[in-house]
């Protein structure tokens, strides 16, 4: 589904990713761990199509296509989803309009008719229940006045609405209490199927108790320094990262 080959990326002249190689197959869940400043969020943002990054070298293939050649909106329409670490507040853009436009853009891309008002409301109700998103929140502007936990739930709600093939969750667990963490994880797990993959970027092993990864990678100073199965997360929890920084 996703193949990253020797990806080197710079921001404002500073090299952040120094040659990433990663292969993700359909149905797999990969966790990317690592200390602050190792380039985890940069990787997520580059894959989602944020423009302020300079690609120095490398290639990313998504479903056989050159991902780096596509606009952010096309990547989304093709089933790539980034759950933001810091979802931005957009006063004046109502949640409902935003989600509706988003869902219908996705449908248009697939050659489907837009949802009717009734269908849309039904779908929204269903997905809101999935993540226990307070009904009132969808009457507000996008993320406006949402608590930290509500913002993260809102990301998972959007993911549930869009049903992506590849979800990249950037520190979705940060700032969540244990209940919210459980709800968010259940939302992610509910979407799991053999065709869908996920990249879970996280600091802590905690989230991986709920979203069990097939592979764990440690990103350090712009490189993947270790890859292993889910047991690596436990090892990191015990020993920290220092033993990998050599």
């Amino acid at each position: 589904m996703l193949t990253i080959k020797n990806l080197r990326v710079a921001v404002e002249g500073k090299e952040i990713l120094k040659g990433i190689n990663l292969e993700i197959k359909a149905g797999e869940v990969h966790a990317i761990m690592g200390p602050n400043g190792s380039g985890k969020s940069t990787l997520g943002n580059v894959l989602a199509g944020k423009e302020e990054y300079e690609i120095l070298e490398g290639e990313v293939l998504y479903e056989g296509q050159d991902l780096l050649d596509l606009s952010a909106e096309d990547r989304s329409r093709m089933g790539l989803f980034l759950g933001f670490q810091y979802p931005v507040e957009i006063p004046g853009v109502p949640m409902v309009n935003f989600i509706k436009t988003s869902v219908n853009e996705h449908r248009k891309f697939k050659g489907l008719e837009p949802l009717t008002a009734g269908e849309f409301l039904k779908l929204m109700r269903e997905k809101k229940e999935l993540v226990h998103l307070d009904s009132q929140l969808t009457n507000r502007s996008v993320n406006e006045g949402f608590s930290g936990g509500e913002k993260k739930k809102n990301e998972i709600f959007q993911m549930a609405m869009l049903e992506p093939k590849l979800a990249i969750l950037d520190e979705t667990d940060s700032g969540l209490d244990i209940d919210a963490l459980r709800v968010v994880s259940e939302g992610v797990n509910a979407l799991k199927n053999p065709e869908r993959s996920a990249i879970v970027i996280t600091h802590y092993q905690r989230l991986l108790e709920y979203i069990v990864p097939d592979f764990v990678h440690v990103l350090y100073q712009g490189r993947i320094v270790k890859s292993a199965g889910k047991e690596l997360a436990l090892e990191l929890e015990e020993k920290g990262y220092d033993w990998l920084k050599k």
């Binding site: 989304s76 933001f84 853009e105 891309f109």
Partner: protein
């Protein structure tokens, strides 16, 4: 010729025009209007057409638009088509009493308005001043006459007609009055329009001004509106400016509010060349509230300057101003917001905000708050921002599959929405939302909202 000499020559052209037409100006008009002319032209002469050195006009050079050979319309000119037939505003469900003015004059073939509440008078200022002077005499020029602005004085010197509305005490005018100001000529025309609106004690009225052009010529409109809002009255005054970019206008509005009155005024500028909107609110009693909003969407070489002045002359009043501008291409905007809290106007609440988005490097915005506070127990705030589209928000929307241009549109609409949502006439609010979106998409042509057959 030096600049100063040029300025004198320019101003002299207008005083000469006045003197050459002195008798024609008086002809047909009531003494109530005519008696103000000589004092007004002297006041105009003292300052002349304001140039850059005039502090109040430092962001708008009027000399350029005044320095043209205009035809002044000193008596009513017959219109060769039926404007009622030709013109219809396509705002759906906007159930209004429609009144047409053409080149500053009340259109002679306006349809009589049906079912107006008893005592409400809608009509031509010239006609009402002649026939019911008692409705006019206590109000006309009572605000504008105190203004130091030479352009207002020039209006007083030259004005013969305009829109008039009188709502007696204790009357609720349910339907808004929609005043459609049309410019239509085959040559360059200077229009002088004088409006007077009186909303009696404990009454309610809504007026919507729509400025349009029916031909693309060099037009200059000098428009002065005086509004008197009685005690306990509620008044809404909306203006939609959508003229051709060859048309320029200076609009000076004066609002005087009695105790416990409530005013909402909002201006939406879509198309037009050089536009200057002067607005003054003066509280004449306690516990009055004024909500003053403005928004503009400009591109090409448009120039829009909003200049407000809120006079807190009584204690316990509230004023709230929000002005927002989206500037594209080489357009230029300005906002000056003056708030004056006089001594003893305690417990004043005065808020002001001006937010601007520049879409290009060549667009330019000047913003200047001016707070003069002579009382000590007041709450005043002001804030101004000039920025670009929020890139983080743009990426967020695009990352959900919304195309870049649609995402930009959503953000600009959201930016404007804060102003739009305050409109208290729902169909008008929806329509302005739609107009703003069309304007931002570049799909709104001159007079798009007017269906000319």
């Amino acid at each position: 010729m030096t600049m100063t000499a040029n300025k004198i020559a320019l101003s002299e052209r207008y005083t000469a025009l006045f003197h050459a037409n002195r008798a024609r100006l008086d002809e047909g008009s009531s003494n109530l209007i005519n008696r103000m002319r000589d004092i007004a032209i002297k006041r105009f002469e003292k300052v002349g057409i304001p140039g850059f050195k005039n502090e109040d006009y430092k962001y708008t050079n009027l000399e350029r638009v005044f320095d043209q050979d205009y035809r002044h319309i000193l008596e009513y000119e017959k219109v060769d088509i039926d404007l009622n037939e030709a013109f219809r505003c396509d705002v759906p469900q906007l159930d209004t009493h429609v009144v047409l003015l053409v080149n500053g004059w009340y259109y002679a073939k306006n349809q009589p308005l049906q079912n107006l509440p008893k005592g409400v008078v809608v009509g031509s200022l010239q006609e009402v001043a002649n026939e019911q002077p008692e409705l006019v005499q206590d109000y006309l020029n009572r605000q504008a006459g105190l203004s130091e602005d030479p352009i207002v004085a020039l209006n007083t010197a030259l004005a013969k007609d305009g829109f008039f509305l009188y709502v007696p005490d204790h009357v609720v005018l349910e339907k808004p009055i929609q005043v459609i100001n049309l410019m239509r000529a085959e040559d360059a025309v200077f229009a002088t329009q004088r409006n007077l609106i009186v909303v009696g004690k404990n009454s309610q009225a809504k007026v919507i001004f729509c400025d349009h052009t029916l031909s693309a010529r060099d037009f200059l409109t000098n428009n002065v509106t005086e509004v008197f809002v009685g005690e306990d009255a509620v008044a809404d005054v909306y203006t939609v400016q959508n003229q051709d970019n060859q048309a320029n206008s200076i609009n000076s509005s004066f609002f005087k509010q009695g105790a416990n009155s409530n005013l909402l005024t909002s201006v939406a500028t879509l198309h037009g060349g050089l536009i200057r909107n002067n607005l003054k609110v003066e509280f004449a009693g306690e516990h009055a509230e004024a909500n003053v909003y403005g928004m503009s969407f400009t591109d090409k070489k448009q120039h829009v300057d909003n200049f407000t002045n809120i006079e807190h002359a009584y204690p316990n009043c509230l004023s709230n101003q929000v002005y927002k501008n989206v500037l594209d291409e080489d357009s230029v905007g300005a906002f000056t917001g003056r708030i004056h809290v006089v001594r003893d106007a305690q417990k004043t609440n005065a808020f002001q905000r001006n937010n601007n988005v520049l879409l290009t490097d060549s667009a330019k915005m000047n913003t200047k708050p001016q707070l003069i506070i002579d009382a000590d127990d007041v709450k005043c705030s002001h804030g101004a921002t000039v920025g670009q589209i929020d890139e983080e928000a743009l990426f967020y929307l695009r990352a959900r599959g919304i195309g870049e241009s649609d995402a930009r549109m959503m953000l600009m609409n959201a930016f404007a929405h804060e102003v739009v949502q305050n409109i208290r006439v729902e169909p008008l609010r929806d329509r302005i939302d739609e107009l703003v979106e069309k304007r931002l998409r570049g799909e709104l042509a001159r007079c798009h909202s007017c269906d000319m057959s």
